[in-house]
Amino acid sequence: MELFTNQVLAGIATGAIYACMALAVVMIYQAIDHLNFAQGEMAMFSTFIAWQLMQWGLGFWPAFLLTLVISFVGGIVIERALFKPLTNAPVLVHVAGFIALFAILNSVAGLTWDFTIKQFPSPFGSSGFLGSQLISTHQAGMIGVTLVLLTLLFFFFRYTRIGLAMRAAASLPESARLVGINTSWMIALGWGMASSIGAIAGMLIAPVVFLEPNMMGGILLYGFAAAVLGGLTSPFGAVVGGFLVGVFENLVGTYIPGVGNELKLPIALALIIVVLVIKPSGLFGRAIVQRV
């Protein structure tokens, strides 16, 4: 039983990483109806910016806040410059655009900061949380930040005018435009927010997986799995999905014989397929009804 509790706790700790990433994925999916395959690289790039700021002598929190602002502006600039002209392009072209962005960010980061792994400081320290051996203070902090972020997002979408406008622009763009919402800028705002959330995820993950241009590859996949499991339309679902994927991955690795580390990833992917086949809208997502 103790092994079980331990594994669940460890799973929740890694799940927090996936939850952060899934949150960013869902944000952008809400805004533009596409999965951004470059999301991980955007987060990685933001994390490098934070690292660079700290190298220049800024403290963790000033660098953290400044990075959020830079990422927000960066996300909006990317949307305005690269993806706004593609608004009416076919979905396949969008995916190709994401892949191009992925290649550019990865290559530029590699050239600027090279491929050696770097330490990234944690604001929470790495001692045991409340004297426990299972969860470090950093992991506890990560879970805390994820939950705070989720709460903030909930209040933003539920109780602010601009949050309401964003929801309207996402669900019925034409009607939203008729009541005077600038839907085009709502999309840009969505990109900015997703970029900032990705930056938070990146900065929280970096102390655990270390900083390098390819750090996000596997994590983005788990993020996708989490987002799909929770439902691509629900930020709450994304976070729950993240924790579930983390716990599931750990339990499968422990209890099913023959599943070593190398099979963990295929299992997360099998999970995506199973969820998609049984309940395509995810655990907490709304089924999308289409009018024909």
């Binding site: 690269l82 076919p90 979905v91 655009g97 191009a100 530029v108 099979l263 998609l276």
Partner: protein, 338 residues
């Protein structure tokens, strides 16, 4: 899915083009074919090898075109089928001593079954969800190939080394050149098959599904049947490309079939023009040769250069090479009228 439809709905217009443009098309085909036949005689072995890879990727892109352009389904998992084809060829040649030419149909049949089976769960999915499911398949494939259970056959992480076949009938030809002509022949056969498939009753059923699934089923098209069939055929052609690739590269290993291969095939299709079969050659040229060009411009930034070039293509010609073909065709027509 209406967006996919936009990009491919011109197929009908293309088929019904005037006789004048038909002749332009025919001339272009003959010129390209002649170039493909003659060029290897004048270039070095390494360039012949690259041209062979170009044709092989063209087959893989063609296969994806049948799936996406034909039935409107979307796959980022073609590398998995490519891998299965490659391993089929490798295992048959090295462990069973089967002639290389015979491994192609076998790879095709095995991949057809594989694709057909994968098509069933994929039936419930469309758009982004299907992209994600196939993406998952592509990422999982290298890990599955490394599994200890299959290691006896697949060679695990090490992979398999394949002996290169000689030119038959005592032809005085280098192995590379023979493989090139062999690939060209397979490529032509598949191209003709694909065109005939899309023009047949099944092809029209697929296009009906792509344009409006509900109307298609009302007309009596069996949706699940044709959708899984499209997956099967696409996987079969990709598998044949994979088998050819294995024979030409002489080596199969799990890490040659990562998600990057699937992305390359996908990009080739977008660049060539979705649903336009001749575009497969153009798209394939893009994914085989542009990375080299990018590397020659800047070594450290090759990824960035590739990305920028890709953006340039997307912005200038969002419908890919087919758009350029239509522009040229329109120019010729205007000239002949005046």
């Amino acid at each position: 899915m209406s967006t996919v439809q936009d990009s491919v709905s011109q197929t009908a217009a293309g088929a019904a083009a005037s006789k004048k443009s038909m002749t332009i098309g025919t001339i272009a085909t003959i010129v390209v074919l002649a170039l493909l036949l003659i060029t290897p005689l004048f270039v070095k072995n390494f360039i012949i090898f690259q041209m062979t890879m170009w044709l092989i990727y063209a087959i893989a892109i063609l296969a994806l075109n049948i799936l996406t352009g034909g039935s409107g389904q979307f796959s980022l998992g073609q590398s998995a089928f490519y891998a299965v084809g490659a391993y089929t060829a490798g295992i048959m040649m090295e462990y069973m001593g089967v002639n290389y030419a015979l491994t192609l149909p076998a790879a095709g049949i095995i991949c057809f079954l594989f694709g057909f089976l994968f098509g069933f769960p994929a039936l419930r999915l469309s758009g982004v969800y299907l992209a994600l499911a196939t993406f998952a398949l592509a990422v999982a494939m290298p890990q599955l190939l490394k599994l200890g259970v299959f290691e006896h056959w697949t060679g695990g992480v090490q992979g398999l080394v394949i002996t290169k076949p000689d030119a038959p009938f005592g032809l005085k030809m280098s192995q590379d050149m023979w493989l090139y002509y062999f690939t060209l022949f397979v490529c032509l056969v598949i191209y003709v098959l694909a065109i005939n498939l899309l023009r047949s009753r099944s092809g029209r059923a697929l296009m009906a599904i792509r344009d409006n699934p509900i109307a298609a089923s009302a007309m009596g098209v069996d949706l699940p049947m044709y959708k899984t069939l499209a997956f099967g055929v696409s996987a079969a052609f990709t598998g044949i490309a994979g088998a050819l690739g294995a024979i030409v590269v002489q080596f199969v290993a799990p890490d040659s079939f990562t998600i990057q291969l699937a992305i390359a095939i996908f990009l080739g299709m977008v660049v060539g023009g979705v649903g336009w079969l001749p575009g497969s050659l153009v798209g394939s040229a893009f994914i085989v040769f542009v990375p080299n060009v990018a590397e020659s411009i800047s070594k450290g930034l090759s990824g960035a250069v590739f990305g920028v070039l890709l953006f340039a293509v997307i912005f200038l010609v969002p419908h890919g090479a087919r758009q350029i073909a239509y522009i040229i065709e329109a120019l010729f027509q205007r000239k002949s009228k005046s």
